[in-house]
Structure formats: structure tokens, C-alpha cells
């Protein structure tokens, strides 16, 4: 018999940085609600207290301080040689045109290294140029191209994400639960109709459907919420129908019928409370999905109109400057990833706690 050599318990510890990983895993096991708390900080608290927390106005920027990097990044300094004005050609690496050198000299972002004895900039002089100023702690995460504080915009953006996810899930989930219950309870033609509608919905590419719907109405928060709930209901309907059918096979539903309970009462008082676990778990897991959808729509320009700082809008705005000013693009992405990740972790945890049958959703 061959024995497969498995890494021993201490294997991870033997790697560089391993003990920290082990420690982190132990923590995650010990505090399963930790992701939820991270989420609270990333999403809920800033969303509620946006006006109090945000250090700057999220709509009006300081045009003297555009594209400032995050606070911990210092000045970017290079040595450049002054060259004659280039025709239809950008200055090469290590070169600066005469006109921009003069301009920078006036602003004080360039100093002489060689030459410049006469106080004016000449071709062939070597300059020390601050091509990008460092960040300041006034704007901890930097500013965008209109000089607006990215942190403040992120904080206000969490409000959009929270509103959209809560309302869209309530609306779409509510619709899905009602339709799923009806399909399960009525059966027959009602069931067939609703489930074929679900199939049709699921056969559509969701982004395409969303774009069409947004194009049909005027863009705005309400439109985004309605569009996302239209995208969400089908999954609820399908899961709820399956659960409801299995619940209806249990004797207490027969018992309720024998007691004379109406269809409505059976659905609301006997089936629905037993579906709650499933619905709660599904809702938590869907939050991440909704935030990504909302960001995608905003990114594509079909979501929340500017200047409302939705995270997706911020990503879209930062995209064109991804090389020159990566922070404009990066921090909204981090916010989305953190929120979605912690929501999924919390959803997993809730699911395991409430309903282990749902492992495969």
C-alpha cells in the first residue's frame, strides 16, 4: 500500500509568513461573525452617517489639487534634459520641452541641476522635475481628476450600494417569494406559467436585459432598483418553489387544510415561516451579486447618473486614468471587493447556521 505523504499539521507554519496564516485561520474559525463586522464598517456605518463621517464635500473638488495620490505616496521626481519643442512628437523619457520646462519653473516644480546660470531655461539644461506631487493627509485616499476627495466619495457611494441592495432584494426577493409560493401551492397551469417565465428570464443575458430596461426608462436610482429586482426575482421563485413543494408534502399542511385554513392562511402562516431560513440566506448571498450588478450598470453608464458617487461610476471614471492615477480606479474596486466578499462570507455562515441543506446554492 502506498502512503501518500500529506503535509503535516505544521506544514503551513514552516512556510515564510506561515504562522500568521495559521493565526488568521484560527481567528476566522473562532470569530465567524468577523466578516459581518468588516461589512458593517465598510458599508452600513458609512452609509448611515455619510454626512458626518465624510471629511470633504463629495461633489465639489479642489481644482488646485487634482489627481493627488493617496497620502502615503510621496512626490515623484525625475531628472529631465530640456529639449527643443518637438513637432508632433511627445518628449522622450528623460526629456522635457522648453515650453513646459519654463512653465514648471514658474510654478516652482522644477529646479536646475546643470546650467541655468542665467536664470532662464535653455536647451541642454538638466532639470530636477517634480512630475507628480505627493499626497496629503487632507485627502487620505487621494483626489480624482476634478479634485474631489476619493474617501468622501467612497463613503457616500456606500449609501448608493446599500440603498440599492436592500431595496432591490426586498422588491425582487418579495416578488420571487410570492411567485414561487404561488407556483408551488397552486400547481398545474399556474406553476407551468410561472416556471416557464423563470426559464425565459434566466435565458436572457442579465446585463443585456438590464441595459434594455434602463434604456426604456430614464436612468436613476429608482430605475436601477427596479431593473435589478427584475433580474433577481427568478432565482428566488425557483428556490422558493422547490422548498415550498417539499414543505407541502409534510403532514402539517394536510392538518391545516383539515382544520379549514384558507389557501392564503396556509401559504402565509404554515409554508412561509418555514421558508424564512432559505429566504434570509439567499438574500444575504445576493447582496454581493446586487452590488456587483449595480456597479456594472453604473460602470456602463446605465446606472446611477453622475455626480452621485456610485462605486461603479467611480470605477468607470478612473478607468481612463488607470496608468496615471491608479488610485481613482483602485479604491472603489477595493470597496466593492471587500463588501461582496464579507457579504458572501456572512451569507455562507448564516446558511450553515440556519439551513445546511442549501450548501449547493
Amino acid at each position: 500500500m502506498t502512503v501518500v505523504a500529506l503535509p503535516k499539521r505544521g506544514f503551513i507554519d514552516s512556510l515564510p509568513g506561515g504562522p500568521a496564516v495559521t493565526q488568521g485561520l484560527a481567528w476566522a474559525r473562532r470569530y465567524p461573525l468577523l466578516p459581518g463586522f468588516v461589512l458593517l464598517f465598510v458599508l452600513v456605518i458609512p452609509a448611515i452617517f455619510a454626512n458626518q463621517i465624510a471629511p470633504h464635500d463629495h461633489r465639489i473638488g479642489d481644482l488646485d489639487l487634482v489627481k493627488r495620490p493617496p497620502a502615503w505616496i510621496g512626490d515623484k521626481i525625475v531628472e529631465q534634459t530640456v529639449v527643443q519643442k518637438q513637432d508632433r512628437r511627445v518628449a522622450r523619457q528623460g526629456e522635457i520641452t522648453l515650453s513646459s520646462a519654463t512653465r514648471r519653473m514658474k510654478r516652482g516644480t522644477a529646479t536646475f541641476l546643470e546650467g541655468g546660470g542665467d536664470g532662464t531655461v535653455d536647451v541642454g539644461d538638466k532639470l530636477r522635475v517634480v512630475i507628480r506631487q505627493g499626497g496629503t493627509w487632507t485627502y487620505p485616499l487621494g483626489t480624482d481628476k476634478q479634485g474631489r476627495d476619493i474617501l468622501s466619495r467612497l463613503i457616500h457611494g456606500s449609501r448608493v450600494s446599500l440603498t440599492v441592495s436592500v431595496l432591490a432584494i426586498a422588491l425582487g426577493g418579495g416578488l420571487g417569494v410570492i411567485l414561487g409560493l404561488l407556483a408551488a401551492y397552486k400547481g398545474g397551469i399556474t406553476d407551468t406559467l410561472i416556471m416557464r417565465l423563470v426559464d425565459i428570464k434566466l435565458a436572457f443575458p442579465s446585463i443585456l436585459l438590464a441595459l434594455v430596461l434602463v434604456a426604456a426608462w430614464k436612468p436613476g436610482l429608482l430605475t436601477v432598483i427596479i431593473v435589478i429586482s427584475v433580474l433577481l426575482w427568478a432565482r428566488y421563485a425557483r428556490v422558493v418553489r422547490g422548498e415550498a413543494i417539499s414543505i407541502m408534502n409534510r403532514d402539517f399542511i394536510d392538518r391545516a387544510q383539515v382544520a379549514g385554513a384558507s389557501d392564503w392562511r396556509i401559504m402565509a402562516r404554515h409554508i412561509f415561516p418555514n421558508l424564512m431560513n432559505t429566504v434570509v440566506v439567499l438574500a444575504t448571498l445576493e447582496v454581493g451579486h446586487v452590488i456587483i450588478l449595480e456597479s456594472t450598470l453604473s460602470f456602463l453608464g446605465a446606472g446611477i447618473p453622475r455626480p452621485t458617487p456610485a462605486w461603479g461610476v467611480m470605477v468607470a471614471d478612473g478607468r481612463e486614468l488607470i496608468v496615471a492615477a491608479w488610485w481613482i480606479f483602485f479604491f472603489p474596486c477595493v470597496a466593492i471587493v471587500l463588501t461582496v466578499l464579507s457579504m458572501n462570507l456572512m451569507g455562507d455562515w448564516l446558511r450553515d447556521k440556519l439551513d445546511p441543506k442549501l450548501r449547493n446554492i
Binding site: R250, A256, A259
Partner: protein, 325 residues
């Protein structure tokens, strides 16, 4: 017949056929499961009818038709002389209070998300205009009657043991002063030690409420202990129907005899007639011709496969469907 003299419950040639369909879209009906095929019996006020038979013989379908959970394909179910399928509005609400049920599995028959007091009160709250004070009093009354503590009313079903859960189920069946309770294997899911308690409880309550029971069981001892009359079912039909004591002392139909010989005797030295059935229960989709029992019957004659036997009264109140008599 005057209404007052009508028996509590009467089944007249009740049949239930379930269509068997084939194909995904066209759903062509290719046959019928003859779950219940023409059975008749009566239950008198305050008496118990035991319905015995092996799994799949149509006992539960019969009970579902009595509870209006299934509509008979043919025949009528009469409650105090009136067809239960005709009930509407106020009459239907009355029917829903008069006829109640206790199901086999107390783990599945109580909603896990409802408090015990809500479970028990359901039939009352749904059908009658009663104040919450009256409901509370009545719930506490029935809880005491079935041997539960009234301070357990706010608990959820998972906080109770199997026997207690079945008591809750009995209490919820009793709350609306029923005249008939369908007991679908009420004790078979319980520990043997608790069975007797629940059976005694049911018997006591019958005396108190003068309620009729339809007791569905496969345990012959349970039926003998509780039922005034016993009906034996085989493949959707009644094969024998008699007073319980008469039936147990003098079983006539070969199937009844086989059932009794399969049950453990009360004393191991007891000498008994041994009838061991071979083969499986035939499919109710395509039941045997003539007497449905003939392929497995040790006494089968040529006639049995050709002609369905008619019910014969061999002794007062003792009906048998068999060509032997």
C-alpha cells in the same frame, strides 16, 4: 331516512382512481391507479371503526377522501346524511370543525415554526368567531385533557417528545368539539411504552366527547384494543367487515386469516393456523381479474379468477367478500 337517524359517517361505493400519465407535453393518460375501488362502510356516533390492511391498499386515500383532501372519483361520503362534497360556506366551516384528523408522524404533522397554542387553536380560530380569551381558555382546557401542562402553550413543537407531540396533535383535533376524528396510524410512530398511554387517552376522550374514530392501522393489537368494528382492506376493496371481537375470534376471509397469522401471538405456545402469503401485492394499476386476492390465495378456485365475489353477510353484521362462503 330522517337526518337524526343517519349514521355519523357513511361511505357509499367510494372510488378513487389516479390517472397515470405518460409523456412530458401531451400528458396522455395510459391508465389509472385504482387506489380505492368501491368501498362502503358506516361509523356511528361515538364508535370506532378500525381500518386494517397492508401498505398501499388505499387506507390513507380513503381517509383523505373523508377529510376532503381528495375528491372521490365515484361514490359519496356522507356526514350525517349529507354529501361532504356539497358543503359550501357556513356548512363547510361546520364540517371543518366536526371532522378532524391526527396523523401518523408527530414530527411532520406539527409546523415547526408555530407555537403550540397556535397549532392547537387553528381549527377554532379559522372557523369560528371567538375572542382570544375564549380561544385561550379552550386551548388550556384541551391541553389539560390530553395531559399537557398549560404553561407549555408558548413552546415550539421541537421542545416536546414524540408522545407529547402526539398529545398536541390530539389536542388540536379536539379543540373544535369534533364528532369524527380520523386517526391515521396515530401510535405507530411512537415508542411501545408510550403507545398504550396515547391509546388510553384516545379511548378516554372518546367517552368524554362521544366522538367517532376512524382508526387506520396496520397493528392488529391496536385495532382490537380500540375499535368497535373492523374493516379489512385489500388492494382498494373491503374484504371483510365485522364487529371487532367477532372478527378476531372468527376471521373468515383468507386474507384476514393471513394477516392474523402474520401477527405475533400473545403467547408463544399458542397453536395457530399458519397462512404464509407468497408474492407481492399486485399493482393497483392493473388489478387481477375476479377476486383481487386470488393470485396469492391458498384456497383459490377456478371461479375466483373469473368472477368478483359479492359481499355476503355470514353472521349478523359480519360481511365477507369471498367465494368460499
Amino acid at each position: 331516512m330522517v337526518n337524526g337517524a343517519a349514521p355519523l359517517l357513511e361511505l357509499q361505493g367510494v372510488k378513487k382512481y389516479f390517472p397515470v400519465t405518460k409523456g412530458l407535453i401531451m400528458m396522455k393518460t395510459v391508465g389509472y391507479v385504482q387506489a380505492v375501488d368501491g368501498i362502503s362502510f358506516t361509523i356511528k356516533q361515538g364508535e370506532t371503526l378500525g381500518l386494517v390492511g397492508e401498505s398501499g391498499c388505499g387506507k390513507t386515500t380513503t381517509s383523505k377522501m373523508i377529510l376532503r383532501l381528495e375528491v372521490p372519483t365515484e361514490g359519496r361520503v356522507l356526514l350525517e346524511g349529507k354529501d361532504i362534497q356539497d358543503f359550501k360556506g357556513e356548512e363547510l366551516r361546520d364540517y371543518r370543525t366536526i371532522v378532524q384528523a391526527v396523523f401518523q408522524d408527530p414530527w411532520s404533522s406539527l409546523s415547526p415554526r408555530m407555537r403550540v397554542r397556535d397549532i392547537i387553536a387553528e381549527a377554532l380560530v379559522v372557523n369560528r368567531q371567538v375572542s382570544s380569551e375564549e380561544v385561550k381558555n379552550r386551548v388550556e382546557e384541551v391541553m389539560t385533557q390530553v395531559g399537557l401542562h398549560t404553561d407549555q402553550a408558548k413552546n415550539y413543537p421541537h421542545e416536546f417528545s414524540g408522545g407529547q407531540r402526539q398529545r398536541i396533535a390530539v389536542a388540536s383535533a379536539l379543540v373544535s368539539y369534533p364528532k369524527l376524528i380520523v386517526l391515521d396510524e396515530p401510535v405507530s410512530a411512537l415508542d411501545v411504552s408510550i403507545r398504550a398511554q396515547v391509546m388510553n387517552l384516545l379511548k378516554d376522550l372518546q367517552g368524554e366527547y362521544n366522538v367517532g374514530y376512524l382508526l387506520i392501522a396496520h397493528n392488529l393489537a391496536t385495532v382490537r384494543y380500540m375499535a368497535h368494528q373492523t374493516a379489512v382492506m385489500y388492494l382498494g376493496q373491503l374484504v371483510e367487515y365485522s364487529d371487532t371481537e367477532e372478527l378476531y375470534k372468527n376471521p373468515l376471509h383468507p386474507y384476514t386469516k393471513a394477516l392474523f397469522s402474520a401477527a405475533l401471538p400473545s403467547h408463544p405456545d399458542m397453536i395457530r393456523e399458519e397462512i404464509v402469503l407468497t408474492g407481492e401485492v399486485p399493482s393497483p394499476i392493473n388489478p387481477p381479474s375476479g377476486c383481487r386476492f386470488h393470485p396469492r390465495c391458498p384456497f383459490a378456485m377456478d371461479k375466483c379468477s373469473e368472477e368478483a365475489p359479492v359481499e355476503k353477510e355470514v353472521a349478523p353484521g359480519h360481511l365477507v367478500s369471498c367465494h368460499l362462503y
